[in-house]
C-alpha cells in the first residue's frame, strides 16, 4: 500500500492528484478560471511592499492559505534606493525562472521522467535611457531581451531532458505572459 502511494509521487509532485485535476477540469472547465492578486503599499522612496494571499479558483475564493507573504521591493544606490529589496525588474526575472522551473518539473512528472536537479540563470538587458526619459526614441522602457539557461539532470537521455525543458517553457504562465505580453488596465483613484 505504501509502495503504491509512493509510486504516484514523482519529482515531489503527486501525479495521481495531477491526473485527477486534469480530469476534473475536462469534466467541468469552469473550475479552471483563476484570479491571482497582489496588493502593494508605498513605504518611501524606492521602497514598497506587496502582500499576497487571496486568490480565486474552482469557482470560489480559495481558503486553503492560512497565512500569506509580504515582499519588499527596493532599488540599489545607483538607481536612487537603499537596497530595501530586490528591484522590480529582478522580481520579474525571478517570476520567470520560478514558472519555467515548476512547469518543467510538472511536465517531467507527467511524462514519467525523474529529475535529479534543475537550475537556471537569467540575465535581462535594460538600457535605462528609455525608462528615465532621456532617449525614448531609441530605447524602450522595458527589458530589451532576456536570456535564460536551464541546466537539468535526470533519469532520461539528454534529448528527452531537453524536451522536458521545452515543454515546461511552452506551458509556462509567466513565460507566455512576458514573451507575448498581457493587456493591463490601469485605474487611478485620488484620495
Amino acid at each position: 500500500m505504501t509502495e503504491t502511494v509512493n509510486d504516484t509521487i514523482r519529482n515531489g509532485v503527486d501525479t495521481a492528484t495531477m491526473f485527477a485535476t486534469l480530469d476534473a477540469i475536462k469534466a467541468q472547465p469552469e473550475i479552471a478560471a483563476f484570479k491571482f492578486r497582489a496588493t502593494n503599499t508605498w513605504i518611501g522612496g524606492s521602497h514598497n511592499r506587496s502582500s499576497i494571499k487571496s486568490f480565486y479558483a474552482a469557482c470560489a475564493e480559495d481558503t486553503s492559505r492560512t497565512e500569506g507573504w509580504t515582499l519588499d521591493a527596493g532599488e540599489p544606490a545607483i538607481l536612487l534606493g537603499a537596497d530595501e529589496g530586490p528591484n522590480p525588474a529582478e522580481y520579474l526575472l525571478h517570476a520567470l525562472a520560478a514558472c519555467v522551473t515548476t512547469s518543467l518539473v510538472y511536465s517531467a512528472a507527467a511524462r514519467g521522467v525523474r529529475l535529479t536537479s534543475v537550475s537556471s540563470t537569467l540575465e535581462g538587458d535594460l538600457d535605462v535611457q528609455g525608462a528615465m526619459g532621456v532617449n525614448t526614441e531609441d530605447y524602450r522602457n522595458g527589458f530589451e531581451r532576456i536570456r535564460m539557461t536551464v541546466t537539468i539532470s535526470g533519469d532520461a537521455p539528454p534529448e528527452k531532458l531537453r524536451q522536458v525543458v521545452e515543454r515546461g517553457r511552452d506551458r509556462s504562465v509567466v513565460f507566455d505572459s512576458v514573451m507575448h505580453g498581457v493587456p493591463i488596465e490601469l485605474d487611478v483613484v485620488t484620495a
Copy 2:
C-alpha cells in the same frame, strides 16, 4: 545647510542625485546599459528558490550590494504544491505593482509633487486550461488580462496626481515588459 540638503529630498528620493544621474547619462549614454540577473534552484515539487545580487551598470559590475536576497516560490494545494511561497504568477503581479509604484514616486519627485500615500491592488485573470494543456486552442498559457488600481494622495490636485500615475506607468520597466512583451532566449544544458 541642513535645510538646503533636506530640500533636495522629496518622497524619499534625493532629487539632486536624480538630476545629476540624468545629466551623467546624457553626457555618457553608455552608462545607462544595465544587466539584471537571477539564479534559480529547484528544491522539489513546486518549490524553487532564486538568489538575486549581482548586476551590471555604468560599464562595470556593481559592487555596492554586500548581501543579496533569496526568494522562495511555490504553489497552493489546488495547484499541487504546499504554499512554499507565492506562486510565479503572483510574483509577476508584485513586480508590476512595485515597478509602477517606484516609477510614479520618482516621477512625482522630479515634478515637485509631494506624495502622502500610494497603494495599489492588482488582479490577473488566468484560465489554466491553457497552461495545463487541456484546451490550448481557446486559452493561452499566460494571464488573459491584468487589472491594476492605484490609489494616491499628495499635495497636488487630483488631475495632477492622475498624471503622476500615468507618467509612472509610461516609464515603468515592468509595465512595458509585461504589456508589450520581451524576447526570451532559452538555452538548455543537460548535465
